[in-house]
């Protein structure tokens, strides 16, 4: 269960506000926003790298943000075993930082895609997904141009073997290897996912498949 969280704001982040409000509604009231130029992280249990277009996604999505000053502190947070989540652009930043293996390439259809996507829950035994236990599937929207997950076969086999694949697309929308939508690192404390759980927490604004994600962080068991 997390008591406090930090959301990192890069220039060009645009889901930071959504992440903060989802966390404070469903996970914890103690949420800090941290500017990418800062070098110190407040002591928190969870760090979120939010969605958006950090640095305009110029060069490669997530590449420039991954070299931001705050990322050194984020890396040590992860090395200490702190929870770290990258959503969409955040996932891209995590692969660019090598906190997660692989890379996110341009969607196979070469177009930006914004749509609701059914997901298979492959591992509900993580701090991020335990409230999904007992569910085979959920649905969370995607909105990205570069979500086509690539890694070499060995890496993919290792991910598969280690239970590191957490979410898979039911209908692969972007060409991702082995339908991967979200993975963790080997230690299981770092998660990257392309779908946006923070946009799926309120029946008024659409689907609610992301609710269990934030409940999981709050320590709720299914």
């Amino acid at each position: 269960m997390i008591v406090s969280a930090a959301v990192i704001v890069f220039p060009g982040s645009n889901c930071d506000r959504d992440a903060v409000s989802a966390l404070s509604k469903h996970s914890t009231k103690r949420v800090h926003r941290v500017w990418h130029r800062d070098t110190d992280l407040p002591k928190v249990d969870l760090v979120i790298l939010p969605g958006g277009f950090s640095y305009g996604d110029y060069l490669r999505s997530g590449a420039i943000a991954a070299r931001s000053p705050i990322m050194t502190a984020v890396q040590s947070h992860a090395k200490r075993g702190g929870l770290l989540v990258g959503i969409c652009n955040g996932f891209q930043i995590l692969t660019e930082t090598h906190l997660l293996p692989g890379a996110l390439m341009r969607n196979a259809g070469l177009k930006f895609l914004c749509k609701s996507t059914p997901l298979r829950i492959e591992n509900a035994d993580t701090p991020f997904t335990r409230a999904y236990a007992g569910l085979d599937q959920t649905s969370i929207p995607i909105a990205h141009h570069d979500g086509n997950y690539f890694a070499d076969e060995d890496t993919l086999d290792r991910l598969e073997g280690g239970g590191q694949i957490v979410f898979r697309y039911v209908n692969n929308p972007n060409g991702s290897s082995r339908d991967i939508a979200g993975i963790t690192n080997k230690a299981g404390n770092v998660l990257g996912m392309m779908p946006h759980p923070e946009r799926a927490i309120d029946p008024l604004t659409g689907e609610t498949g992301g609710l269990a994600f934030f409940k999981s962080l709050a320590g709720v068991m299914a």
């Binding site: 220039p11 060009g12 645009n14 889901c15 506000r17 959504d18 409000s21 989802a22 969605g51 958006g52 277009f53 640095y55 305009g56 996604d57 110029y58 177009k111 930006f112 895609l113 914004c114 749509k115 929207p141 909105a143 141009h145 946006h196 923070e198 946009r199 927490i201 309120d202 008024l204 604004t205 659409g206």
Partner: protein
């Protein structure tokens, strides 16, 4: 003294689009011939795009006041009161010519420009809409234009992180050489921190912020005021490239600055860049302005004063500060890693004075630029009246076949291929967006339980057939779409796209369309608070169909009561509100099924429109209906089919005992709504309608999984959906 200070000649002025009278006024006011820089400034300020010289006197006819209006036309965007100390700020603008030349960048910078108009007034942009008109699908350029424009709109809006929630897309050969790309932005501000552009007070510092100035789009404003010819494509002015990443930082930095007390006035640099922003601010504030051009951040070397003054580089703003606030303001922009420079100050001279490399390169009185701006009463002729089509003359073929034809026709087919490229949900407040089975997009006001509804509408084939009725209809349809979503319609913005106003027939379209709009806005209590005019949309003497696009905003007090057309259930009765005469003139049916583009368009009875709308509003909020859809293109059958597809339930419509099938199922009489209600509320509902003086009758039932039109062959809903969904992707992927 350098050559750029030499006096210019009339020939040079003419080359920049000024006529003899305009040249005469300049000579008189200056008492001398202008130099190059000054001439450049006059030419852009007096271009159609900046001066509204052909349209100004007619725009005055539009009603612009109302209970909800905080600020009408004249500022960067319109402002309305949405209660609880909040304001909604919105505007629509065209980027037609640039999008035809470079579809991706043209459309992208159109989105960027309209967002700046909104946040410059203190609002955070919360929603974008886009109204697109392309040429015939068979035209060799159309596919690439669609693909580029859509990618550009998405590329910009998605990156900035403002959801694109709605729009419209038409295809017609009339736009083959002149596509229309109109973008609308809606923002939300606190009423006590709205910012205006009047730079009152002399001696205040002028701050330049945002991107550096390059030679982008020089004479873009004059280009938007001239007809295309075959050479235009070859001329290729330096196209502006959008940088949404800079825009995003500019929004955050400006909104941050707006929480301090630094700002006297603020204005984005739009068309005619530094010239129009500085002159408008000074003019409105009744002051003069001195600028030192050497201080302007420049992206290129050796830029001349006229180049700097006319550059249309994107993502730039001009701010007049309170004295002493310079470093506080600069620090905010430096934090966001934006260029920032103090480039001058306001003065009490009433003149615009520019310095460059130690020389005074411009000294002109500001007031005449506005006061003496040309204002033409262009000759116009009354558009011809077309005969009404007698529906009985039109052979009614198989309505089932006609329905398939219509549902997969380019204008009617699903635009999913487009809107799936738009981030519709960022900011996490989108309740209904494109594809969300609602006639209007609905976006919650952040951290409240209210929502804004918004819609953009125009039916160009009606406006072409009868500009006056078509102008009325565009307003009425927009109003209707807001009503159908459960909103109280508040106010509108517009984007008036027409051909060459120097032609009396085109000017006639313009004048009469405005007359119709004005009448409808008045009758419906739907004032115009902002807008934009785009003229000269013609190529080689052929004008586009007149296209006055209306962008409306409404308010939903309780977001949970937002209505859509996807909630109908098996067993529900379908009630049609509003009178049906079977009007087929200028209808989609006539064009797509009969291959005829003829006849007078359906008239709009505004008094009846209002009455019906108020009834629908009351029924929605009385909790009596499960789904509401207005009737537009394709009439009853198409509206019912859309409701059926969205509700995933079949629909059976009865035939009429007085009208022929084509007229009954596909006629486009105005002011009508289709309601799905539980069977047991039908009778009281019909009574209520009767009391309100609104025609109402049960026209069908929701059931099984077929669409059935009277006695015609049942059509599987899945088949119709498939045809409806497939047209655009099949067209686009057939590259």
């Amino acid at each position: 003294m350098s050559a750029q200070n030499n006096p210019t000649s009339f020939e040079q002025a003419q080359a920049l689009g000024l006529n003899e009278d305009e040249w005469g006024v300049i000579l008189k006011r200056l008492g001398r011939a202008p130099n190059q820089t000054e001439l450049g400034i006059f030419s852009v300020m007096w271009s159609e795009h900046c001066s509204y010289k052909s349209s100004r006197r007619h725009l005055r006819k539009l009603p612009t006041t109302g209970k909800c209006v905080i600020c009408g036309p004249g500022e960067n965007a319109g402002v309305i009161d949405i209660g609880d100390g909040l304001a909604c700020i919105f505007k629509m603008e065209s980027h037609n010519h640039p999008s035809y030349i470079e579809p991706y960048q043209g459309a992208a910078t159109g989105v960027g420009g309209i967002m700046r108009d909104v946040f410059t007034m203190g609002a955070r942009p919360v929603a974008l809409l886009n109204a697109l008109r392309f040429g015939s699908p068979d035209h060799p350029k159309t596919r690439a234009l669609v693909s580029g424009v859509v990618a550009g709109i998405g590329g910009y809006g998605n990156c900035v992180g403002v959801p694109t929630v709605g729009g419209e897309t038409n295809f017609h050969a009339g736009y083959d050489g002149n596509i229309l790309v109109n973008a609308m932005c809606v923002g939300i501000a606190k009423q006590d921190s709205i910012f205006y552009s009047a730079a009152k007070g002399a001696g205040n510092p002028v701050l330049y912020v945002g991107a550096k100035t390059g030679r982008d789009g020089i004479h873009g404003a004059t280009m938007a005021s001239a007809e295309f010819d075959d050479e235009t494509e070859a001329k290729r002015p330096t196209v502006q490239v959008g940088d949404p990443f800079t825009e995003k930082r500019l929004i955050e930095a400006c909104l941050e600055l707006m929480q301090t007390s630094c700002i006297v006035a603020i204005q984005d640099m739009g068309a005619a860049g530094l010239t129009s922003s500085s002159i408008e601010m000074a003019d409105k504030g009744g002051v003069g302005i001195d600028l030192d051009l050497d201080k302007v951040p420049q992206r290129e070397t050796h830029m001349t004063p006229v180049e700097m003054m006319l550059s249309e580089s994107q993502e730039r703003m001009l701010i007049v500060l309170r004295p002493g606030k310079e470093s506080e303001a600069q620090a905010i922009f430096e934090h966001w890693e934006l260029d920032v420079a103090l480039i001058g100050k306001t003065t009490d001279t009433g003149h615009m004075v520019l310095h460059h490399k130690g020389e005074k390169v411009c000294d002109i009185p500001i007031a005449p630029l506005g006061d003496d701006a040309p204002n033409y009463d262009r000759p116009w002729v009354e558009p011809p009246t077309l005969p009404a089509i007698n529906a009985d003359e039109i052979a009614s073929g198989d309505p089932a076949k006609a329905l398939i034809t219509l549902m997969q026709s380019p204008d009617m087919a699903s635009k999913r291929w487009i809107w799936e490229q738009y981030d519709r949900h960022v900011m996490a407040d989108t309740i209904k967006a494109s594809g969300g089975a609602s006639d209007a997009a609905v976006v919650r006001v952040h951290d409240t339980n209210k929502a804004l509804a918004m819609s953009s509408d125009c039916t160009p084939r009606y406006v072409l057939a009868d500009p006056y009725e078509g102008g009325k209809q565009a307003v009425a349809e927009c109003w209707r779409n807001l009503i159908a979503s459960g909103a109280r319609p508040m106010a509108v913005t517009d984007c008036l796209n027409f051909g060459n106003p120097e032609r009396p027939d085109i000017m006639g379209q313009f004048v009469r369309a405005i007359d119709g709009m004005a009448e409808a806005c008045r009758a419906l209590g739907f004032p115009v608070v902002s807008g934009n005019v785009s003229l000269y949309n013609e190529t080689a003497g052929t004008a586009i169909p007149p296209t006055p696009v209306i962008g409306g905003v409404g308010l939903i007090d309780n977001a949970n009561t937002a209505m859509g057309f996807g909630g109908a259930e098996a067993g529900d009765a379908l009630v049609l509100l509003g009178a049906t005469t079977g009007w087929l003139g200028a209808s989609l049916y006539l064009r797509e099924v009969e291959g005829r583009e003829e006849g007078a368009p359906p008239p709009v009875n505004l008094e009846q429109e209002h009455r019906t709308g108020m009834l629908v509003h009351a029924l929605i909020h009385g909790g009596q209906v499960r789904a509401v859809h207005d009737l537009s293109d394709g009439g009853l059958a198409c509206a019912a089919t859309e409701m059926a597809m969205a509700s995933r339930c079949g629909v059976h419509l009865v035939a009429s005992d007085t009208l022929l099938d084509a007229a009954w199922f596909f006629g486009e009489d105005q002011g009508r709504y289709l309601l799905a209600v539980k069977a047991d509320v039908v009778d009281p509902l019909l009574d209520q309608a009767h009391e309100a003086g609104v025609d109402a009758k049960v026209v069908g039932t929701m059931k099984d999984s077929d669409v059935v039109l009277g006695d015609a062959m049942p059509l599987a809903l899945d088949l119709l959906s498939q045809k409806h969904e497939n047209w655009l992707p099949a067209y686009m992927e057939d590259a």
